[in-house]
């Protein structure tokens, strides 16, 4: 009896010990991944500047955000394909046209990728481009003002995902359609006639060398496949552009399964210099389309939107030797060219290897017509003939690749949630680090250029789970900074991001900060409703519109007492900030306005439109804490019933006497 008791005791003890041992096998906490000196490496002391600007896409927030590296501090959120009540962006009369499209006012989009302007494939710090993935558009952000300067809609496109990647001297940014769609006159077709009726396009958007102004230079009509990502060549391959494509199966339903059938999809190689020649030689056909082209002018402080009606389309049938397909395993996503321009890395999302193509071999295969048949009449190059080699067993779910200046590539792996460093020349895996969790894009400062600045790789993650304090069901997304200066990648910082970060670029701070604008000069202000000084303020009635030419300067608005506006009239407050001093914006808001505030930079004029619906006296005030007497920066506007005879009066400080006659409002309303 006693014997069996001790036996069972022993058995229980062993069982407990076994459980404890098993517990020990569970993954350890993620904190262990940070090494000792991480804090010092990411620390930027108060008052000190970061080394890099990081321009990060905001995904479904439609914004672009600007961080400092290595600190991860957020400096600014730029509304791009989004409205921003904080800045009045998309609410002021001046900015509304920026969000106009052929579908009308579209105040939202899904901004996925950033392309910083380049000269000779190196950053020049002038503009940042961003794409709209939903209603196809490309935006250009001026890096002097950190504002959206221009948005162009892309015709014959649906889901501008493969965009806005850029050629070596910023000649073009591209726009490859994610969805193929019916193109031409017959748009109302059964969806299951996809194979005959649906087509893809890749557009080349010209960028003016000095002004940066965009135009849809030409489009290439392609088979009805889906374009995912793209990169221009560099150096010897600079005249070429490479687009990854999926759904060569041409499925229009349950793509998850139906577009994953073929062993290989394609990377489409486009000889854009040749395409440009064809376009100039008149090989294209002008097609009737409708798309919006919106520009913001820093002198009139206003945007204009123009609807364009025509686009030049190049059909590969009429333009031989312009595009080729290269087989690439399993629905390639990332398609990245290395700094030398010789290697093109394809990342099949479902592939077990990373294929690396050689530009020299591509040229050779084209010259020798080393084809593996055709796809919709377009030559398919032989996989083996163009392959430099494959990185074997790199990880699961390769997505994107960036490069440092030392011949190394860094590939993100969504499924296995890691960054893998490998050598481009010999395709050997050198190092791997986990990301927390499910990395999408990654970025090395200067990574897509000929001259990577290196030093860091930043992971942009889709899932954060337990990395931060929880905030209900919706959690922050995040970036992670790794030091890549040594042989081993080292995690040094986590920082939360605005919206969902897709692609991002980083650029040395001194390339941007020296150009950063401080104020707008009043004497250069060409706004039609500017009040150039307090003496020029006035209130004017034009039909049923009342225009208030208002000024703001510390610490009063002029006029600050307005009477005589009647119901049924629309009031336009044109507020000019008279300050000529750095960092002194004024805000402007009116009680009950179904709009937003204005935030007016020094020297700028912005307009808030208001149609009051009830008679009464409405307060208005400056919303930006501008000075010690900011709280006193306020006034009133009186709205009287329609048909009242209150004269139009306006003043500041003088307190214009009220009309002695009984005001119209005091008369009985019923007549």
């Amino acid at each position: 009896m006693k014997h069996s008791f001790s036996k069972s005791l022993l058995a229980i003890s062993l069982l407990v010990a076994g459980f404890v041992w098993l517990q020990g096998c569970k993954p350890k906490g993620t904190q262990s991944a940070v090494s000792g000196d991480a804090a010092a490496k990411a620390y930027v002391a108060p008052g000190k500047y970061d080394e890099f600007y990081n321009f990060v896409s905001g995904g479904f927030s439609g914004q672009m955000s600007v961080y400092g590296l290595p600190s991860g501090r957020l400096f600014r959120v730029i509304p791009v394909f989004s409205v921003d009540p904080e800045k009045g962006w998309g609410y002021s009369e001046e900015t509304k046209p920026m969000l106009n499209t052929s579908h009308g006012f579209v105040p939202w989009d899904d901004l996925h990728h950033i392309a910083l302007s380049v000269t000779k494939s190196e950053h020049d710090g002038r503009w940042a481009f961003g794409n709209a993935n939903n209603t196809p558009r490309i935006a250009r952000i001026d890096l002097k003002t950190f504002r959206t300067a221009e948005i162009i809609e892309i015709p014959n496109s649906a889901g501008n995902h493969s965009s806005p990647f850029i050629t070596e001297n910023s000649e073009y940014v591209v726009a490859g359609t994610r969805f193929s769609v019916p193109i031409g006159n017959k748009l109302d077709v059964p969806i299951n006639t996809y194979k005959e009726n649906f087509k893809g396009t890749v557009s080349f958007i010209g960028v003016d060398k000095t002004s940066g102004e965009m135009n849809v230079a030409f489009q290439i009509l392609t088979p009805g496949i889906n374009f995912d990502l793209a990169r221009a060549g560099k150096g010897k391959s600079a005249g070429w552009f490479f687009f990854s494509c999926y759904n060569s199966e041409k499925a229009n339903t349950l793509l998850e399964v139906n577009a994953s059938q073929k062993d290989k999809d394609f990377i489409m190689a486009v000889n854009w210099k040749k395409a440009e020649e064809y376009a100039k030689a008149g090989k294209g056909v002008k097609k009737a389309v409708r798309y919006a082209h919106n520009k913001y002018d820093d002198n009139t402080h206003s945007a204009t939107s123009t609807i364009m009606n025509e686009v030049l389309v190049l059909d590969p049938k009429d333009c031989p030797d312009m595009i080729y397909f290269m087989p690439c395993p399993k629905s390639p996503h990332g398609c990245d060219t290395d700094p030398t321009g010789e290697y093109i890395v394809g990342s099949g999302k479902l592939a077990a290897v990373i294929p690396v193509f050689s530009f020299t071999k591509i040229q050779d295969a084209i010259a020798k017509k080393n084809y593996d048949g055709e796809y919709d009449g377009i030559p398919v190059l032989k996989y083996e003939a163009v392959l430099h080699g494959e990185v074997s067993k790199p990880g699961l779910g390769p997505l994107h690749t960036e490069f440092d200046g030392n011949g190394n590539a860094y590939t993100s792996f969504f499924v296995s949630s890691e960054i893998v460093k490998w050598s481009v020349k010999d395709l050997k895996v050198l190092d791997r680090v986990p990301t927390y969790y499910s990395i999408g894009h990654l970025s090395v400062p200067g990574g897509p250029t000929k001259k990577p600045w290196g030093k860091y790789v930043i992971a942009y993650n889709k899932i954060t789970k337990d990395r931060y304090l929880p905030t209900g069901p919706e959690l922050t997304q995040s970036a992670q900074l790794y030091d890549i200066s040594g042989d081993k990648m080292k995690l040094i910082l986590d920082f939360p991001t605005i919206g969902e970060p897709h692609y991002a670029e980083a650029i040395p701070a001194e390339m941007i900060m020296k150009n950063s604008r401080k104020i707008f000069k009043l004497e250069e202000n060409k706004h039609p409703y500017i009040a150039m000084g307090e003496g020029k303020t006035k209130v004017e009635r034009k039909g049923n519109e009342v225009h208030v030419y208002m000024t703001a300067i510390r610490s009063h608005i002029t006029p600050d007492n307005i009477e005589g506006v009647k119901l049924g009239e629309t009031v336009y407050f044109h507020v000019t900030n008279l300050e000529q001093d750095w960092d002194v914006p004024h805000g402007f808001a009116v009680k009950g306005i179904s709009n937003a505030e204005l935030l007016i930079m020094p020297g700028e004029t912005q307009t808030l439109k208001w149609t009051p619906e009830k008679a009464g006296v409405y307060p208005m005030y400056c919303t930006d804490f501008c000075s010690a007497l900011h709280q006193e920066m306020q006034g009133y506007i009186r709205i009287s019933p329609a048909g009242s005879n209150v004269p139009l009066l306006f003043s500041t400080g003088t307190n214009l006497p009220a009309v002695t006659a009984p005001a119209a409002t005091e008369k009985p309303a019923t007549k």
């Binding site: 610490s555 750095w582 000075s627």
Partner: protein, 196 residues
């Protein structure tokens, strides 16, 4: 007793009075203001015929404490100062041409008086601006005035004010020092000669 300046002295006096031309092309005085909100500083340059720099921003700030709006047309000095400087240049040249030692002494005394008058005038303006305040000003601190420093540093509310000659001013000062130096050297040599 020889009443003539040496050739070297005359060249130096000519050079000194010629150098005064700098006052026409460079600001002669500068006032710098620093505050927590203005780490980059605000600057006002004073020329012989006007003002430049962040004058409007300074005016914007000054209105809170009731200081007058500074503008060029309020100062009659800017109208006649160029003639005064021109006169001193001409007079200096005459000294060099004539080489008369007594004339140089006279010139130097005139320079000293001129300099003193200029500083006194500058002080008067500063006093007026600092004390003659708008009684309806938003910020009023009993007993406090805002007279800027004549020379050097002074704390004015949240601002550190610095008042020093600007490049043109240093050239004028340098020219005056040179002219005085010439006279002193002449006087020293003369005394030595006389002892012999």
């Amino acid at each position: 007793m020889n009443n003539k300046l040496s050739v070297t002295s005359r060249i130096l006096v000519a050079f000194a009075s010629g150098a005064l031309i700098a006052a026409f092309f460079l600001p002669v005085w500068r006032i710098d203001l620093f505050a927590p909100q203005y780490p980059e500083g605000l600057m006002m340059n004073i020329w012989i015929n006007g003002l430049s720099g962040d004058v409007e921003i300074i005016n914007g700030l000054n209105h809170y404490i009731g200081m007058k709006h500074i503008s060029v047309d309020m100062f009659p000095e800017f109208k006649f100062l160029p003639y005064v400087v021109g006169f001193f240049m001409l007079l200096g040249m005459l000294v060099a041409v004539t080489g008369n030692r007594k004339f140089l002494l006279f010139y130097l005394i005139l320079t000293a008086i001129g300099g003193a008058l200029a500083m006194y005038d500058f002080y008067q303006w500063g006093y007026d601006y600092g004390h003659n305040l708008d009684p309806s000003a938003a910020i009023q601190v009993p007993g406090l005035s805002y007279q800027p420093p004549l020379f050097g540093h002074k704390r004015l509310l949240n601002f550190d004010a610095y008042s020093f000659p600007d490049v043109g001013g240093w050239v004028v000062i340098g020219a005056a020092v040179l002219a005085f130096g010439v006279w002193f050297a002449e006087w020293y040599h003369q005394r030595k000669k006389n002892k012999k």
